[in-house]
């Protein structure tokens, strides 16, 4: 249990998808104009990451990696399907996103309208594929660890987007030079937040 909590906390702060790895920037920048949409998208990301990382973990360990197919038959123990990793992970992610889209449309049509194109774009959100690839790289030993990682990464992403959205709502009334308004100043603030988060790097929990 201690292990799982460690992984979760580490993924939120030390390995934050936005501030440490800079994955998932496009939707982060585009949907952070208000806290409300930020929370909505962040929740969707948590859901997608929390589900796709464990599913991809199962895929990786029972289908893809070298020798993974040994449970089906001993003859297949030599098969290495890892070159199919990208496509299979993406297929799982795209299907999950389709599911989330349908759920959001039913549950909250207002949020669905507000998120617009960025809901289906979660499928291409580099942080989701990034989550699957990190899981593959770090070779978590159990599905519980993979899930803790997925949920933690999603939560870290939510934290990041809510933080920047809150700041953006406030600076709308500040004297930002016109050419920097909107996108430009958001980049700078994110950069500064990134520098701050670097203080977490290398922390051993």
């Amino acid at each position: 249990m201690q292990d799982l909590v460690n992984i979760f906390v580490k993924s939120v702060f030390v390995d934050n998808m936005i501030f440490a790895y800079f994955l998932g920037m496009c939707s982060y920048l585009a949907v952070s104009k208000t806290v409300k949409t930020g929370v909505g998208l962040g929740a969707a990301v948590i859901f997608v990451l929390g589900i796709t990382v464990p599913i991809n973990y199962l895929l990786e360990n029972y289908v893809l990696k070298a020798g993974a197919l040994a449970w089906l038959s001993d003859d297949l123990a030599d098969v290495d399907l890892s070159f199919l990793s990208f496509i299979m992970f993406i297929a799982v992610i795209a299907s999950m996103v389709q599911l989330v889209e349908m759920i959001v449309e039913k549950v909250s049509p207002a949020l669905y309208g507000a998120l617009g194109i960025f809901l289906p774009l979660i499928a291409v959100n580099c942080s989701i594929l990034g989550g699957a690839l990190f899981m593959q790289e770090r070779q978590y030993s159990t599905i519980a660890e993979a899930t803790a990682f997925g949920l933690g990464s999603g939560f870290g992403w939510l934290l990041a987007i809510v933080a920047i959205a809150a700041i953006r709502e406030k600076i709308r009334y500040s004297n930002v030079p016109a050419p920097l308004r909107g996108l430009g100043i958001t980049f700078i603030i994110t950069g500064l937040m990134g520098i701050a988060f670097m203080s977490f790097m290398g922390i051993q929990l």
Binding site: A66, F83, L84, I87, E137, Q139, S141, G202
Partner: protein
Amino acid sequence: MAINKNSNGYTFTFAILMVVVVGTLLAVASQGLKSRQDKNTSDKKMINILSAIKVEATRANAQEMFDTYVVESKIISGKDINAAAFDVDIQKEFRDKNLKLSDRNYPLYICEKNGSRYYVIPVVGTGLWGPIWGFVALESDYKTIYGATFDHKGETPGLGAEIKQGFYSDQYAGEMVADTSGTFLPIVVVKDGSGKGMNSKVDGITGGTITSKGVEEMTTRTLAVYVNYFNALNN
């Protein structure tokens, strides 16, 4: 054509066709290119091994140079002692959590250059962002490092990635991994600049501490095994 593009039947058929076409294409490409890719990987491994004994090889002459300088490759301990040493994938074994420590295979490359013998030891470990690895060459006294090469998959360029550069790996030349009585000495990576000189310490990379410490960990862990082996040989 009156096929309804949006009908379930059409969608389903399209999806299946797509999976088959893409799957076949990728499988064919992967198989067809595999032998070239494998040759590229083994050429790179040979270049790295030779680089540890300060022999520069290129992809064009890697095999030839390897055959010239490496006189024997063996596995000093592990599950498959009689297997081909070159084929041992120590990275894969390192990451395999189900592999018992005693089953890990430890290859050794015995080289001859200008009449002297050198022993090249492969090492593997973890950096900040991914795996790091390298080759350390010992002189025939089994104690002094002749040369070393390090490489990585995705360390930070300009920081951790600098372990690949000569200025870092050249520090290892001349350092001792065992004292006169055969006791193992780990090569410690330090941050205070005291790594100059032959004192079993090397200077880490500023800003690349985690990667540098990763190098220390992997050399310590692996060289200990080989030093034990060499001590046993001597007795």
